[in-house]
């Protein structure tokens, strides 16, 4: 009764009245066919794997002072019904392995973190990436002990696929979410059909199931799903085509208010949360540059690999990313390693200052949890190596 009373009272204060656009009912069962069902794996085996990773990373070097390995899995059975007549059943397994290593040399402490995640069963743990995760973190933490603090200024920056993905997700992707657009918080309001990037730029969000095999994986990408949390099938959405903004990402509400079809981006992190407009697997399409050519063609710059985190003021497009590893480039050669490099820029300026986009062989992705509106959902983002001119690099010196 309290809820009904609250809904009635607040309805009178809600300024936006609109009709939900009905979609065709969907009656379907979905099941991700995992090879090694998570429920069948003994907890002891899972604990042993974690202990083994702890052992590998902690014994890698005397300079490693602390390690952390986290194994997370979950199996979900979701039943979805709505007033359009949809009746959808989903059977889903998700797994993620996380490794953090802290190394210390005299007063200097450095850390490295890596994760592997996917939609699928225990076979995810048998992939090379999962098996080497602790060794990778240990090597990286030790490597960073020798890294220098960066020098601030403006540089030509080459971003690796993970960082390109972060840029596409954080600096651009959130501004394409139609709820942000409707709330007048997006730099892309009124930009549909307009040129927002150089002609070579194509940006896609494709959370459909079936992309794991593109990366030779025995499981599905972490950010993928069959149907969104409003019963709309996941689908490939072209956001930028040849530099022109074509589509926003929608849930049923934003699509109804903008009088278009929803495109399957209404996602909630649990059954008690309200679906928001969210990304799935957002990426920049590759073009034709080799990484070596990009470096050779750069007189002075920074090669940035992997990210720690990033954030964006969607109202202005001012973004910042913290990179994990960065190398100076001098006269076309990769030089010394730098740590904690941060990159900043204005999204719409930067999309027009891309000077090179890598080829298919450089295309890759990373996975993670996006926490918009306090709801963490599984996402992936990626792209090839790209080069951007005149990016502001933050440094202590």
């Amino acid at each position: 009764m309290k809820a009904i009373k609250l809904a009635r009272k607040s309805q009178s204060l809600c300024k936006f009245k609109f009709n939900i656009k009905e979609s065709n009912p969907l009656n379907k069962k979905f099941k991700i066919n995992s090879i090694r069902n998570l429920e069948s794996i003994d907890i002891q085996d899972k604990i042993e794997i974690v202990k083994n990773h702890e052992d590998i990373s902690s014994k890698y070097s005397k300079e490693i002072k602390n390690t952390r390995t986290v194994y997370l899995d979950g199996y979900f059975k979701n039943l979805f019904l709505n007033s359009f007549g949809s009746h959808i059943y989903q059977d889903l397994e998700v797994l993620r392995l996380f490794s953090a290593v802290y190394a210390q040399r005299k007063g200097l402490i450095q850390n490295a973190m890596n994760s592997v995640g996917g939609v699928g069963g225990f076979e995810i743990m048998e992939t090379e990436a999962a098996q080497n995760i602790s060794l990778k973190s240990a090597k990286q933490a030790i490597m960073l002990l020798d890294a220098k603090s960066p020098v601030g200024g403006k540089f030509n920056v080459i971003m690796d696929p993970k960082l390109t993905g972060t840029f596409i997700h954080e600096a651009f992707g959130h501004a394409c979410e139609a709820d942000i657009v409707l709330n007048k918080e997006s730099i892309l309001e009124d930009k549909i059909g307009k040129t927002v990037a150089i002609e070579e730029v194509n940006i896609i969000d494709d959370p459909t199931i079936g992309q794991g095999k593109k990366f030779n994986l025995p499981y599905e990408l972490y950010g993928s799903y069959n149907v969104d949390d409003e019963g709309i099938p996941s689908q490939k959405t072209v956001i930028i085509e040849d530099g022109i903004l074509r589509n926003f990402l929608h849930n049923i509400e934003t699509a109804s208010r903008m009088s278009i079809e929803p495109n399957g981006h209404g996602r909630a992190n649990s059954s008690v949360a309200i679906p928001q407009v969210r990304m799935g697997f957002t990426y920049l399409e590759p073009k034709d540059w080799k990484l070596e050519e990009m470096i050779e063609d750069t007189k002075s710059g920074v090669l940035c690999e992997d990210f720690q985190y990033g954030y964006t003021d969607t109202t202005t497009g001012n973004f910042q990313f913290k990179c994990k590893f960065s190398y100076k480039i001098e006269n076309g050669e990769k030089k010394e390693l730098m740590r904690d490099v941060s990159l900043s820029g204005m999204t719409l300026e930067v999309l027009k200052r891309i000077t090179a986009i890598g080829d298919k062989s450089t295309f890759n992705y990373s996975d993670g949890i996006c926490g918009k509106g306090g709801q963490g959902v599984r996402v992936c983002d990626g792209g090839p190596f790209i080069r951007i001119e005149d990016i502001t690099v933050g440094g202590l010196n």
């Binding site: 009272k9 300024k15 602390n66 109202t315 900043s344 010196n397």
Partner: protein
């Protein structure tokens, strides 16, 4: 879960099962939260939620320190028995931990802290709750430059019961209410847009003032319009209270967390007893302030809370870490009463109570007026690397100060400094201070900060 004797009976039931199943130590934590949320989007009421979260968590530890933890939101005996058995099986497959010493003992005396419960929040009606949201919407509607607002009003009434195998038995009831506003403004001449935000969290409903919150958010948003790029400079940085909280106090709270410290993940490792800053720098974590958001009589494990000095006259005290019973046991000392637990579904972590950077002698206006060229920092979305203390981040809300006047908002401007240099370079602290939730901070001036501008 309103009846204490019912809860006590369930606790005894669970602790007895745990003991029979070879747990040497056991602790049971009951939590109830009745909450109400009203969300504003596009300056209109959007989502509303009334709910109740009720549950219980148990941790069991054997003689070798191996831990098991499980929880349930069903309070009948059958579910509780299943929960205890799950925790026990986790304990049996867990890892031995010689660093675990004991759960907290039974305490005879807890200090009294007043003003943590307000019946007006517990019995707040839906109609009255909506009035707070309406305050935000009305003022935004009437402002010429405001084009949109996201905001929230929420309130909750929380009850906690903790029992352990050492005979500890304690309970509390508290309330909390908050209001927040994130506004977008547009300069109609230049068409530039910007955002500003403000929030208020209180134990007492009478203190909540939505009108002030939106007015401050609007002021912040307007101050951030028509941003300019500047050249790189080395200049003093004046932190507003919000800036001090995000840039100094939150990172410090992580750095003095005893777990972070013991795992050598803090840039302050090996610096206990050292002078980090000037003699007028004092920082404490005080749980015993009447009516304050972070105050409590006991922590998430039932240990009495206290006032702890962290930095005194510039010196980082040897006793300046925040402990729960595990980290304290590892060091062979008493817990500082900083076990933090937001829910029955998680193990006790470590957290602050009320973290306060004490006020100084200068007025904030004097501090700003004496700056020839510097930067006013209200907000950076960034955070320092706690392991190294290094910071290199973007100024999301900040202005240029020239000849003592606050001028243009800054665009694409970053700054870099190590936190140890931040403490060393503190030159002035203002008399005026502001409280945001569990943090209290004044204005602080830091000398010689590397500002990285993006003007060519």
């Amino acid at each position: 879960m309103q009846n204490k004797s019912d809860v006590s009976n369930l606790a005894s039931f669970a602790l007895n099962i745990a003991e029979k199943l070879t747990a040497k130590f056991a602790e049971i934590y009951f939590y109830l939260s009745d909450y109400l949320n009203i969300d504003i989007e596009e300056n209109s009421i959007k989502n509303n939620e009334i709910g109740s979260d009720l549950g219980v968590g148990i941790r069991v530890i054997n003689q070798k320190g191996s831990l098991g933890f499980a929880y349930t939101n069903r309070l009948e005996r059958k579910s509780i028995e299943k929960m205890v058995k799950t925790a026990i099986s986790m304990m049996r497959t867990g890892t031995e931990d010689p660093d675990f010493k004991d759960l907290p003992p039974k305490y005879e005396v807890y200090k009294t802290v007043n003003g943590l419960y307000d019946k007006d929040i517990k019995y707040l009606s839906i109609e009255d709750s909506i009035l707070y949201a309406e305050d935000l919407i009305d003022i935004c509607d009437k402002d010429d430059m405001a084009i949109s607002q996201s905001g929230n009003f929420s309130s909750s009434y929380n009850k906690t019961f903790i029992f352990n195998s050492n005979g500890l038995s304690i309970d509390s009831k508290t309330t909390i209410s908050s209001v927040s506003s994130h506004v977008i403004v547009k300069d109609k001449i230049t068409n530039d847009t910007s955002f500003g935000f403000e929030s208020q969290i209180e134990r007492n409903l009478n203190c909540i003032n939505g009108k002030n919150v939106i007015k401050t958010a609007l002021k912040n948003a307007k101050r951030n319009l028509n941003r300019k790029k500047i050249n790189s400079i080395k200049a003093p940085l004046i932190l507003t209270p919000k800036g001090v909280i995000s840039f100094i106090l939150r990172p410090l709270a992580s750095a003095i967390n005893a777990e972070t410290f013991q795992y050598k993940r803090s840039f302050l490792v090996d610096r206990r007893g050292e002078y980090l800053g000037p003699k007028f720098l004092n920082i404490e974590d005080n749980a015993l302030i009447d009516g304050a958001v972070g105050s409590a009589t006991f922590d998430g494990e039932g240990v009495p809370c206290k006032n702890k000095r962290v930095i005194e006259k510039g010196k980082f005290l040897k006793s300046g870490l925040l402990h729960n019973s595990y980290t304290a046991g590892k060091e062979g000392i008493e817990s500082s009463g900083n076990a933090a637990r937001d829910s029955y579904s998680s193990l006790p972590a470590i957290g602050i109570t009320n973290m306060i950077l004490q006020s100084g002698n200068s007025s904030k206006d004097e501090i700003i007026q004496n700056v020839k060229e510097g930067i006013l920092l209200d907000y950076t979305g960034d955070r320092p690397n706690i392991s190294t203390g290094d910071f290199s981040g973007l100024i999301l809300q900040g202005n240029l100060i020239r000849k003592g006047e606050i001028l243009d908002a800054l665009n694409e401007t970053m700054f870099g400094i190590n936190l140890l240099d931040v403490f060393r370079n503190i030159e002035e602290i203002s008399k005026e201070s502001k409280t945001y939730g569990p943090f209290q901070a004044p204005f602080v001036k830091i000398a010689d900060v590397q500002i990285i501008g993006s003007a060519s």
